[in-house]
Amino acid sequence: MKNSNVGYKSTIDKQTLLLLGIFTILMVFFGFVEDSFLTNRSISSMAIQLPEMGILSLAMMITVMIGGINLSVNATANLSAVLAGLFVLQVVPQLATDGNGGALIVTIILVALLVGVLTGVFNGFLVAYLNVPPILATLASMTVFTGIGVGLTKGQTVTGFPDALGMISSQSVFGIPLPFFVFVGVSIVTHVLLKYTTFGFKTRMLGTNPTAAKFSGINNKSITMKVYVMSSMLASIAGVLIMSRTMSASNAYGTATYVTLTILIGVLAGVISGKGSVINVFITVLILQVISTGFHMLLAGVKGSAFFKDFVWGILLIAIFIINYFSRSRNKE
């Protein structure tokens, strides 16, 4: 909630309650109208899809928290996957053939993270040191990152990975797929970083008032740089998950909708400059996934059913704008 002071004392803010409410209503609704909704299979299928979007949303969130935006999250995820894929296939092909799954996965993750650092530095340099408005800087870098990937792959999808790569996505613990645990883990780390480290503290301050932050001795440029590097590294992790789920790497994954969705999730979760909650983002991602899976099951067999959820998301977002507007004007009185 943009202007609420009410939630300050309690640990749970109003937006969290609102989101939990929406989540509960949706679960009950789909549980009633669709028998197979609350089954293990359905839940595990949800749990395998949402981590990618969730981690990308966190990547978006931290840049929004310092008054920025990162339009290149999806391009970064794809480029990380493409470069990691090309590296293991072409530079160290023995890794792929040896059948050493562990080493393969570790290499892929390391290369992807390295790409994350480099792309993050690129964005951070433009935003922090050249003072390019973030929306423009990351629009340009999105094109650059995609351009590198397209150039190297000639626009083709990179395939031919050993089965070991699929391990990340196919493994489950207690019936819940591994990617979901990755998402939970990444969320916890991000939460701790933002809430319990000086980096997170300074990030919040910078987002609230950059001038006061400067006069308080916070090194704004360095924090901005770190935020963009962290954002890109999160995107790279998402890239590895996508790679493992699809057993391939391509610059075309999610280009039409992923970036829009991550911003949409941020807006729904109430992320603004100086304020952002990992918990709210987490719940929002769950909500979107429930809507997606729920309507998919409900409308099974209907033509174009996969797109009904897009329509609902748009409506939901507008509804949140209207609710926020009225709660804002009530707070003013």
Binding site: N5, Y8, K9, V192, K195, Y196, T197, T198, G200, F201, K202, R204, M205, T208, N209, T211, A212, A213, K214, F215, S216, G217, I218, N219, G274, K275
Partner: protein
Amino acid sequence: MTSKILQVKNISKSFAGVKALDQISLTINEGEIVCLVGENGSGKSTLVKIISGVYSPDNGEIIINDHSYKKLTPIDSMREGVQVIYQDFSLFPNLSVAENLVINEHLSSGKKFVNWKEFDHIAAKGLAEINVSIPLDMMAGDLSTADRQLIAITKATLAKARVIIMDEPTTALTQKEIHSLFNIIMDLKKKGISTIFVSHKLNEVTEIADRTVIFRNGKKVMDQDAKTLDIKTMEWYMTGRELDKSGIQFSHVNQQTEPLLEVENLTLQGKFTNVTFSLNPGEVLGITGLLGSGRTELALSLFGETPANSGEIRIEGKTVSIKSIQDAMNNRIGYVPEDRVIEGLFLDQSISDNVVVRVINKLVNHLHLINPQSISQVSNEWITRLEVKTPNGNLPAKSLSGGNQQRLVLAKWLASDPKLLILNSPTVGVDVGSKASIHELIRNLANQGMGILIISDDVPELMQTCNRLILMRRGKITNEFKRETITEELLNKEMVANRSGMVQ
């Protein structure tokens, strides 16, 4: 010149039960320059807002051009020829001078199309009328502050203003610019246009006013011919007490110890040159001067925001290099900015977080994680020590009043245990009571051994707090005074003398 343009009669206005204006009556005659003087919260800006139609009075009457109003709308007010020039000048930075000048007029005409030739023609005529030449096709955002103000004044005259209200118009002007502003106000007077000049700078008031009106606590306490008023009398009416500072304890500064800060030949091109002074521990040094004198720039250079080009800074005898704010902080230099809201506080964050922002790096446990308990411990300590009035440190800083916000900024800096504290206009916008206690606090800090630099043009404030004073002019130190050898009258005189010397 007895024709009355504007009269307010028995106006009162309360906000949430607090009387902001109490039975105010005031008359403005044609071509008269009236200065409205008063401390913050005295009611002068409330009166301006009532005259311009922003607020409606609880009771009373406003008579403009013989039309009587129980309450005004902004449009009524403008139609009657009342124009307010706000501190932001209400200009569009991306539009040309001509367009800025004519746009309001054009809008009220209801025309759907724009005739650029006509715009240029009207704008040129308007500027010529007050003898100003500014290229019509320049973007307003590219103009200097003084030029933007001139545009705002021209805009008001083009709107056929009969009364122009200027809200603290000299705040961001240099001496030369103030001088030409005053010339323009005199020209307006000759044309029969009245000016209401809202200010708290008494030396300016004595220079420009025909009549001075002083407000205190929502009441008009004085209304008389400016020529018969001196600054001391005005102060007395503003504060309602004799400014007697004999009761303040000045500890004896030990001159034998090594100076805390030594500045030698410090120069920042275009801002100040060859500044040399020193400061002992426990000493409060005031740096004063008029706008453009380089005093704020000097402070910002010592704080590393705009590092000096040449010269030397020594702290406790050691030469230090201050190239960034981080450098300054590593040398335990603190800076309390003038603009609390923009430069000092994180209004949407909690009071506690504001207190600890400087020391957050120290409030971590062995895992380098922030310990929330340490935060509340440190913040509670400072909230108590500086008497920041709040029910809960978790409330956002914006919930505090002006004086408490100023204490919070101080708390933020004191928490970091500085050796040298630079305070820029520490009590601007603070009520009289808080002002006195902030002055006491400054003295106490000095008595505990901290070195303090105060940048201020508030003469009584300087007299109350400083052991020593430096007067700057055009980027150079022109004079230095010991507290024992200077009086308020003398310092006032020095500052004014300094000004007239500059104008010629």
